[in-house]
Symmetry: D2
């Protein structure tokens, strides 16, 4: 596909994700991890303006110099500020202003893409597309949080179906023999810097489940008192359960004895065979402990992945997010992309039903703090 077509495809998709929203839905930030949809739309645009157009496109006029301040998430390079603000406090720029910003940048990008790009600029451009695809997944998860935490429980789109669960015939164990496995990206396509440094890892023999844990299986854990028994939990996870009075996955409610969960179509009865969703690392590890199993490491996951069906849920791994041998940050602001988060995060592998098409791959390293669960996260067991 030509760069221009790729650009169009990615950019339009972000807007289509937001199409069912009301203007008000673009604005709010109910918790710190969730960003307002309009911020995502502006921030992804700012990336192309700041890193591609402004330094490279002759005669390009920055849309609004103040937008750098509003849409820059790389806060460290920002100068003095007049006012301390949070994203969710900002009613301006308005959605229509941001749409004009997108149009302004898109037109300049389409013109810029008429002429051939250097290898380095092409890489930066592809990074920009992948960056926007990452934010597309965040758009889905943040929109779900915004609507799913509203007391009216509005549907995102009554036509939008949740993933139909694969008929789950129960977990089968895949045995992987001990040996040396190559881990990390190789090949020609795009990858993030944190996947580079393909290297050998020795793995002892292990087994890994071919199926994700289902809602029904997880309900067993709940009904067996799993959230009330500290023995299954990390000390930090137990504190999290107590302090937040957690008793179910996010979006589950028991209303008059019936289990429901919030979906794209509003509150709906729990789907028994669907892979459990919106699970923190603490919960995933506690479930595994209750089952007498464990979570796979990210190396075990990657070695087994060619034989697994994956992509429904981001799968928590028993691996902290740390650099591969030889990892080096890129210089400049782009170098802040991944490396600076390599502490206190756990790795997730695979992808989810809201991951952008073709965005994930077997070497992809997603990462979040173990307490977070507004992403589409689930559980695969190892043992």
């Amino acid at each position: 596909m030509l760069l221009k077509e790729q650009y169009e495809t990615v950019r339009r998709r972000s807007e289509q994700i937001c199409a069912p929203l009301k203007t008000e839905d673009y604005v709010v930030q109910p918790v710190v991890d969730v960003s307002p949809p309009k911020w995502h739309l502006g921030h992804t645009t700012w990336f192309f303006e700041t890193f591609i157009l402004a330094p490279n496109a002759k005669g390009y006029t920055v849309f609004d110099p103040q937008y750098n301040y509003v849409f820059n998430s790389y806060y460290e390079s920002v100068g003095a500020r007049v006012i301390r603000t949070n994203r969710g406090n900002l009613s301006r720029p308005a959605v229509e202003d941001i749409m004009r910003y997108r149009k302004h940048v898109d037109e300049a990008m389409m013109a810029f893409l008429e002429t051939p790009l250097s290898r380095k600029l092409t890489e930066l451009f592809i990074l920009g597309l992948n960056h926007e695809e990452q934010h597309q997944e965040l758009l889905y998860t943040d929109i779900k949080y915004i609507l799913g935490h509203n007391p009216l429980f509005p549907a995102y789109d009554p036509q939008h179906k949740d993933l139909t669960p694969v008929n789950n015939t129960g977990p089968a164990w895949l045995n992987i023999r001990a040996g040396m496995y190559d881990i990390g990206f190789s090949g020609d396509g795009f990858c993030f810097d944190n996947e580079l440094g393909r290297h050998a890892v020795y793995l002892p023999e292990y087994r890994i489940s071919t199926a994700l844990v289902t809602n029904t299986e997880y309900l067993d854990f709940i009904q067996a008192g799993g959230y009330q028994d500290f023995r299954y939990w990390h000390a930090e996870g137990w504190d999290w359960v107590k302090n937040n009075q957690v008793t179910t996955p996010m979006y589950w409610y028991n209303i008059d004895g019936q289990w429901v969960h919030y979906t794209w179509q509003g509150l709906r009865p729990l789907m028994p065979d669907a892979p459990v969703n919106h699970i923190s690392y603490y919960e995933a590890a506690a479930y595994a402990a209750w089952k007498g199993q464990r979570l796979p490491t990210e190396f075990e996951w990657e070695a087994a992945a060619p034989q697994l069906s994956w992509g429904q849920r981001w799968e928590w791994c028993e691996s902290a997010y740390l650099p591969y041998p030889g990892f080096a940050k890129a210089p400049g602001a782009i170098g802040e992309y991944n490396g600076k988060f390599m502490i206190s995060q756990m790795v997730l592998r695979g992808g989810s039903e809201v991951t952008s098409p073709n965005h994930s791959r077997i070497t992809y390293r997603n990462f979040f703090h173990p307490s977070l669960r507004w992403q589409f996260t689930g559980i695969r067991l190892a043992g």
Copy 2:
């Protein structure tokens, strides 16, 4: 004026205050004291629906039973909730839904007002209008906060002028002789329950300034190091200054050596003769201490008010908000109106340029926590 006309006038005014807003501006809540404009529009409507229509208008259909949960500020009478939310997290109901809500209730009210009201219902109706007028002032102050804390500093309305300051010829002292003064409301019109219980108060001789402290005068305090000298401040005020790094009134900025402040038209040079605005009680008291003066008590203010020009700024008084002799709460939810706030608040008297027309009066008791200053608050000295 007929009740229907009064109703129309008050209800339309709320919407006119919001007319210059973009949809996004209706939604945000940058700090806990500020409510989203759409919440004010819904909450004032809920008052008429809940206290007048629902119990009294035959055949009235509640617009949406869930709105009671969203727009009820009398939280104590609300039942179990599924989700904990803050007003600023709620993108729904959308502004257009709230406007339909207003229309629904307005039509029912206009029909209801065709038939004569009992005395008790009339009182409740008048309370509803005064309640909405109070929220109109909050609409102004909350909108100013929302826009004035946005890094783009958008104008509310380029045509909307701030009050032209009265040419201020410097403070003249008015001497009031010692004696018994009657304090509290008397007469036929409307007043809040906290003004009732007219009673005699003995006041020693005192003097009170005929003019409010101006921006220029307050700037003298700043430049004399007033915010750096603990001796002028209450201990609690000094903590507030330090913890919040306060160095000016709210909305003042010194940009490249020039003093500007946020106004309805955006950032503008400070108006030297205007009465200082957006002042906390701590600052008012510190300024007075620096001048070797003090603030008037609310009784001194009320006794002198007939000889004063007032209504530009709410004037902090050296009086805590406490009940008058014989004060009694009304029964039921209406009784929560004022009495439950009679602790840890200081009284403000007068009114401001954003107080609704004819809403204030000489006996009106406004009150806020001493740290708050997003209202249009200023300083009058006594001695």
Copy 3:
């Protein structure tokens, strides 16, 4: 009594209050309002050293220049600090060092008092004694908190009896007629600056109870669900009840159906006729609201006091702590004594069983934040 004898009496009493303590008890600070006993012993000594000896006693050698930093509660005048500390973190100076400090200052004071003092120095000296007496009451209340919040509930002194309650024949109402009453200190003896400015206050007719509310009466409030019904509470008080899960006065526990409270002798059955103790303003006001009564203002209290029996409990008044007409701060550090606290505090009148002998008087204005209740505080009703 000679100054030297007064000095000896006051100084020895502080040490006698601490005599039953173990060394460990002198050190801890379980909550911010409570100070470690050794801090009180040092701080009261620092007062005499800093304000009397250092500037006036020829040849006086400061015991340890670093103690100014440790024992100065007037933090604003302290210079740069190397480390941020809380009183309860400081194991040094040790108790024995503080006792040597007291001895050093006492010897210098006794020598200094051999020669006649100027009028101004005499006043300062008397202030120092009254200051130490205030801290004696704090020693009692802080020791009770330290021991009474220890899970072993150790006795302070098995021989130390709590006040025997006056046989309480139920509240009788004293009627006070309307009129002008003089409020504030007059006469020759000592008073604090906040009592000065004797002035006339007009009081409407009122009635006031001759008896304090008893434990039995307060238990009725508890058993009637008083802590579960928001209607009796200020909004701020209700938040306090909810956030702190308050269901009883401080030190009360219901163990296996029996009501006990912590006393100087350890946990003991509740004394039914004793005046209720360790009550916040919120609780006092809620109790009064439940009874359909109110609390007296501090002016009503003072006007009625000659006809009341008082001194068992500090009695919460429905009066904020604000300056009397003509109040002026003393210059210098001494001026920080009272005025800077005149915001967000409520007045208490009377005295308690742990107030130092002859320390209180009818015009004495004690004050605390409405949430505090580790002092010996109770309830007298008015109506």
Copy 4:
């Protein structure tokens, strides 16, 4: 050595560490990570009483049943509590009571050790000794924190010397070739459960420094502006630097241009050649990034350790604290020992000058949150 002799040696050493303290020093808890010395003395005793004597020694009488509540750090198995307390709020049990408790348990243990122990009891007994040795290191670090954060900076013991630094001839790189390395404990002696599961790890070729980073070298980082340049820091580390205004290692102060640090003898000039001490993981990683190097993984450390001189500082590794293959928690309360902390912690290897003699070993896995630095922690580079 006989079990009785081992027991005597370990138990007496704990008391000797505390010998220079004043009673007051046993009581305080300046931050949540530091425990009062008296708590350590009681808690290590409680371990022997609870896990060995109470269930196994016939006729043993528990010293005080309430001590279980005070000295149990395995909070999850504790029943209902009357009062919420923090360790630093507890003046009782007094130090002398705890010493009597130690004597009571020691006498019972010495009698119990007269008869032969089962294999399982012997293991538990050895675990108890190792547990007390761990707390001995904490006694040192907590005492240093208590005294070193006192504004008087008292010496722990004027005779107690800090480690004489090895003459440091600059870092030399040790090259380790790629290959399979066995990681984890093997052999007969004691180890903790987290060291078990000896397993092969493949390591690519790497180099590791033979010397620890010195104070002088770290000072270069400070003077090069390392604490002001976000590029060297993890995002979480940079927040930590900003929020805590960190500009040096713990205990360093620049007084009038001279660098001093708190030592066992009080404030002393910085020793230039000593290995830098009291460093967080964030600081260690930032220093490494500034040098263009990195920290070793715990596997690299263990593989190289036989060729290294170690034991002066706990060395931060670029490895999260996670279970080895096949790790399984022990059943019961003992099983809470290590596994429940396997999240959000980084591994440290080696040992320090305050580690108990013979307590560490090449497979020992220490772990702390990356922000903590009151332990004796330093930096070894890899590349």
